[in-house]
């Protein structure tokens, strides 16, 4: 049972345009969400997070939006750069636990 879902396995975006990566979850107990970026042969790198008490968090070119009623979050990257090409994982955590539940990832390719 996949509690965190990333339904788009891949996304291709032109440099300078916006990249939107989506994530859905089923467990209404999740209260903290994170996005990680992963390059080949490296471990995931933390990108941005959001608590369930917020609906938006912004850090430079990266913004995460949370819609609790829809159990949906999205990561916006604007403007997209070729160096953003990587696999992006959405992760969630429930109260009283530190473990993360990951989605299956979306491979983003930013082309010139």
């Amino acid at each position: 049972d996949q509690q965190v879902k990333q339904n788009s396995p891949s996304l291709s975006v032109q440099e300078g345009r916006i990249s939107i990566l989506n994530c859905d979850y089923t467990n209404s107990m999740f209260d903290y969400f994170l996005w990680y970026k992963k390059y080949p042969a490296e471990g995931p790198t933390f990108l941005i997070s959001i608590s369930s008490i917020k609906d938006k968090n912004e850090d430079g070119r990266f913004t995460v939006f949370l819609n609790k009623s829809a159990k949906h979050l999205s990561l916006h990257i604007v403007p997209s750069q070729p160096g953003d090409s990587a696999v992006y994982f959405c992760a969630a955590s429930a109260p009283d636990t530190d473990k993360l539940i990951f989605g299956t990832g979306t491979r983003l390719q930013v082309f010139p």
Partner: protein, 115 residues
């Protein structure tokens, strides 16, 4: 900088062999996690330590998997009698605090291939 390191980076084992995977977390980090990432999937939680105490091992797939962190720093994940379905990347992560979800810092992983 001193991030999370893991060794070996690659391990090939014949089915039935025992393997030991090492994780050196960031110095001073209280929490340590092990995840298993199968090909094309996201990382899946295996076990969690707070200092030397193993507080959650609910993700370990069988009793062939064993993890320890005896002095609250370095951790070892041991897999006994390896099977082909154990082939995956094993990721270690650490975080500074415990009891509050915060970003976890991941190592590069150990790619285990069981032949």
């Amino acid at each position: 900088g001193a991030g999370v390191s893991q060794s070996p980076r690659y391990k090939v084992a014949k089915r039935g062999q025992d393997v030991a995977l090492r994780c050196d977390p960031i110095s001073g980090h209280v929490s340590l996690f092990w995840y298993q990432q199968a090909l094309g999937q996201g990382p899946e939680f295996l076990t969690y330590f707070q200092n030397e105490a193993q507080l959650d091992k609910s993700g370990l797939p069988s009793d062939r998997f064993f993890a320890e962190r005896p002095e609250g720093s370095v951790s070892t994940l041991k897999i006994q009698r390896t099977q082909q379905e154990d082939s995956a990347v094993y990721l270690c992560a650490s975080s500074l605090v415990a009891g509050v979800v915060s970003e976890q810092y991941f190592g590069p992983g150990t790619r285990l291939t069981v032949t």
